[in-house]
């Protein structure tokens, strides 16, 4: 199966990746090749086969709903690109 340039643009937007127009062609080719490889799966009969989400078919372990983490705001924000008064800064969202 091949993927069109329009579809690649759409996927890139969903994935928040700004693909420059001149690089689109390379992605169309490579992604189409990968989808061709994957297409072998469509021929496999999987009627009644339970999808495998976890190799050991384990259930999610639950814990008591109590605070276990201590506050590391300063430490964690020390690696942020831009912070002010303990808040992460991003470009203005609401005019």
């Amino acid at each position: 199966m091949s993927i069109s340039a329009e579809e690649v643009k759409k996927v890139a937007h969903l994935a928040r990746l700004a693909v420059p127009e001149e690089q689109l062609e390379g992605y169309v080719r490579n992604l189409s090749n990968i989808l061709n490889l994957v297409d072998q799966l469509s021929a496999v009969d999987t009627t009644g086969v339970e999808p495998m989400a976890h190799p050991l078919d384990m259930m999610q372990r639950l814990r008591e709903d109590v605070v276990t983490e201590t506050n590391h705001r300063e430490k964690y924000q020390s690696v942020a690109p831009e912070v002010e008064n303990g808040l992460y800064l991003v470009p203005k969202v609401i005019e």
Binding site: I3, E7, V8, V11, A12, H13, L14, A15, R16, L17, A18, V19, Y27, N30, L31, N33, I34, L35, L37, V38, D39, Q40, L41, S42, V44, T46, V49, E50, P51, M52, A53, H54, P55, L56, M58, Q60, R61, R63, H72, K75, Y76, S78, V79, A80, P81, E82, Y88, V90, P91, K92, V93
Partner: protein, 492 residues
Amino acid sequence: MSKADSIHTLSLKGIHDGVHSGAFSVMEVTDAYLDRIERFNPELNAYITVTRDSAKAQALEIDNRIRKGELSGPMAGVPYALKDLFCSEGVRTTCASNMLSNFISPYDAHVAAKLKAAGGVLLGKNNMDEFAMGSSNETSAFGVVRNPWDTNKVPGGSSGGGAATIAARLAPMTLGTDTGGSIRQPASFCNITGIKPTYGRVSRYGMIAFASSLDQCGPMAPSAEDCAITLNVIAGLDVRDSTSVDRTVPDYTATLNDSIEGLKIGLPKEFFADGLDAQVGVVIERAIKEFEAKGAIIKEVSLPNSHLAVPVYYVVAPAECSSNLSRFDGVRFGHRCEDPKDLRDLYERSRWEGFGDEVKRRIMIGTYALSAGYYDAYYLKAQQVRRLIKQDFESAFADVDVIMGPSCPTTAFGLGEKKDDPIAMYLEDLYTIPVSLAGLPGMTFPVGFAADGLPVGIQLVGNYFEEARMLNIAHQYQQWTEWHTQVPTKFA
């Protein structure tokens, strides 16, 4: 030969015994490795970061604590390296990506904390494929790693820096990670021993995620005994990883000397079919004969769906990667683009600039496979076929104790040879991926050299949580053979 000139030939046990008997200090061992790194790393590029100052500070402290009798365990005084996707507090942790080129981790990964508490000395962080996506270590934003056996060849990937580090003896042990073969394939290309434990055996906390239902951490070292000693330290329950398994950890060193007589070894016929380079096949078959001569029973088994493993993997792994890597948004950590005009521009340009080509390809494939209208055809279908692959192994293990076969179809290939052909690169992992999809433990250890002079590793697959038996089998082989002690002349 002076003491310092031979320290790098010692096993973990040899280093431990030496520092505890007073034959040499932890500082002398650390200096010996730091000197080797300084001498050989410029050629190999196996380390992204060398933690010289903190290593020396740790060595001093551990020397003192050993002298006072506060530390005596098997890792006390032993230097090690970490793949650069394990968060290490206060140390740059890059994942070999421009996205994290300046990221100083504020905390330690579970396994990093375990090795630190056990008295190990961190020498530095190993190069790798960017975000562990690759089979040649050529996707690293910090440059390619060269194979110590032939510096025009790749070391394999994604734990290529770790494999080259051990092959050239620039550390006595390192931790790698394996999602589809990232410990086993480079270990095989570089003539070292590596084990990917059962999914859930080792905590993934602080290990930068690629594909969460597949990622697993494991040791890489010259010998099975070194791997056993390391696994003893890092395995076990950690509540901070919800997939970490609550199950007793055996002493992996206690059974190393058990007999392998009567061991039933299954050879999957699909792993010896077309696609296996004949010069690799010859070496693998010779090793199997050696096991047979020592009393093992060889049986043919079949994994009829194993040819579907690569296609399944290239749906499941990219889907999970697309989800995991959405955290890199240029807001809380990692690369941020210059002068974003709005929030969308901030996300899209930061991510475009921060990630390399292979990572972007996989994010896009995963996003596509998970998007509305395609989920059932791709992700769900792949998860169903994944179960068929797991069931093949279950049937095989009804007849045999372990499975053996090649780790890789070829020996190490040339730098640049497959770089522009993602599909050819993906097919490198056709024998390792089925094991990862099933969540089974897999290991590789050296069994000789092919006609082209490059090393060959055999893959050993055990049933769930059978790591002790696997390490025992590899250790026994390493008692009769010396392949694992071979080091390239230049780095001897």
